[in-house]
Amino acid sequence: MNRQNSLFPGWGALALVRRNLLVWRKLLLPSLLGNFIDPLLYLLALGYGLGHYVGRMEGMPYLTFIASGIVASSAMNTATFEGLYSAYTRMAVQQTYLSLLATPLQIGDIVMGELLWCAVKGAISAVAIVLVAAFFGAVDWAWAWLALPIILLTGFVFGAMALAVTALSRSYDFFMYYFTLAITPMFLFCGVFYPLHSLPKLAQMLAGLLPLTHAVLLLRPLLTGHLPSQVPLHLAVLGAYGLFGYGIAAYLLRRRLLR
């Protein structure tokens, strides 16, 4: 059995999570401030501004509706940023991955470590929004604690997709395409700002194939006091994206690093 360069994760992943956490801690204040200010702007502008005209949506105030959507999209955005820009810096600029491969850490540990960190980063920003939304009375706490594992899973999934893109990139420029072609469409069409059934049938079906849709369909009920329906389906789609994303990212990263 070859015990070199395994694509399967081990405990070494946690050492990388810890490394990233230590770096983040050094920039704690500005980073946290950003996490709060960004959602605050969205909630104020859309929740109040737009909400004034929209009124209620799906039986809840628009601010409440949109807050849960932004929790999901924020986990997506933060994890994607981490999996693209920060991971690329570590991979290509700082050569952190190469120095990790000189230790007992394997490719699998690096990928798992980065993705767990993407999940944590996504969760930090998503929880910040939950807190801000709660301040405006837009959160029902009955089932809200169940949102945390879903948020972490969402961060993991988008981190995995981003890391796969990173492993293919030759420069930071490439990432704009990924945002324009993948992240922005999901942000706009996956039920963050309006319910999916307002879209034409075909668009609804397409949106059903995208991971953010399922994150929103799980998080919105949980944050507004209900249990979601079709939980196994949503978890299965997110799980599949996470698993395939992990596999592809690990494969591509090994191909890139070991030459």
């Binding site: 015990r3 700082q94 120095s99 000189a102």
Partner: protein, 310 residues
């Protein structure tokens, strides 16, 4: 070789897109032995080191650590291997000391042990006063020393050093040599690459000369010199910048000769006739000296800097 081989490279081949970069490199390094790999730029030294680390998949060949193929060691044997890569690969997000701490954690070492070893290693590499400084304030040589300290955090039995002293001042080089000799006495096996031939001569038990992915020669420094250089060396240069001995007077009159840039090197047991001949010409500068490893290197790898044939 003094003892059992700790590291064995068996017929390593590596191709990059059809271009052979390693063409059957085989060598063995014993427990507590220091082996220096020399070779011109692009010879395949770093590639060899990367192969041992498992960073470069081999086209064919096997690498054994303590008799067991690396592929069968947990984590490719990295628990027992320390590496100083050609680029330092230090972590710019951390201070000097944190670099050691964080690296120790990757090996799963307990915190107390890491703290203690980092203190020792920083003192050893004369970096104690920089312990809490960010990496950016370090000079190139200090970074190099930190990279060595980092490679030693888990007390490896095999230390791979890719040009460890490039950019070090003489004091720092001596410091590092002293430390490496201490490690060697403790039984650590050293494989290093270098472009400083005096370094190889002083430090290495054995030297291998690599060129174009082929190991051309391998022996103790003194045996290499004795085998490849007949006698002493006479260096000839001209004050007017012209190439010495344009008519090749030396041909047939000395045992061997080699041109290196504007210098002509003559090798023979008796160089008196040649010295007498050129001393008569006023623009010639002469230097008669004992042969060194550098002469071996120049003879074996060809005199002129070659453009990479791609």
């Amino acid at each position: 070789m003094p003892t059992l081989p700790r590291l064995e490279l068996c017929a390593l081949h590596k191709n990059y897109g059809g271009r052979a970069v390693l063409q059957g490199v085989s060598l063995a390094v014993g427990v507590g032995e220091c082996y220096a790999l020399l070779g011109p730029n692009g010879a395949g030294k770093s590639t060899t080191i990367r192969c041992i680390q498992g960073l470069t998949p081999l086209t064919s060949g096997t690498i054994l650590l303590d008799g067991l193929p690396l592929a069968q060691w947990p984590a490719g044997g990295h628990e027992f291997m320390g590496v100083v890569p050609q680029g330092d690969q230090l972590d710019p997000d951390f201070t000097v000391e944190e670099n050691l701490w964080i690296y120790g954690r990757y090996f799963g070492l307990p915190k107390g042990q890491i703290r203690q070893r980092s203190r020792e290693l920083l003192a050893l590499m004369m970096l104690t006063e920089y312990a809490h400084r960010p990496l950016q304030v370090l000079s190139g040589g200090m970074r190099r020393r930190l990279a060595v300290a980092r490679a030693l955090i888990h007390a490896p039995r095999l230390l791979l050093l890719d040009e460890p002293t490039t950019g070090l001042d003489p004091q720092a080089r001596h410091l590092l040599w002293t430390r490496l000799r201490t490690l060697q006495r403790e039984g650590v096996t050293l494989l290093l690459t270098t472009h400083y031939l005096d370094e190889a001569e002083r430090l290495a038990d054995r030297v291998g000369i690599l060129d174009g992915g082929i190991l051309l020669a391998e022996d103790t420094p003194s045996m290499l010199i004795r085998t490849h250089i007949p006698g002493d060396v006479l260096e000839l240069r001209r004050r007017d910048g012209m190439l010495p001995d344009p008519e090749n007077w030396h041909e047939g009159r000395v045992a061997a000769a080699e041109r290196a840039g504007d210098t002509l090197l003559l090798f023979d047991r008796d160089l008196d006739p040649a010295r007498a001949h050129f001393a008569a010409e006023p623009q010639y500068q002469l230097l008669l000296r004992p042969a060194t490893l550098e002469d071996v290197f120049l003879r074996l790898t060809g005199r002129e800097l070659r453009e990479e044939a791609s």
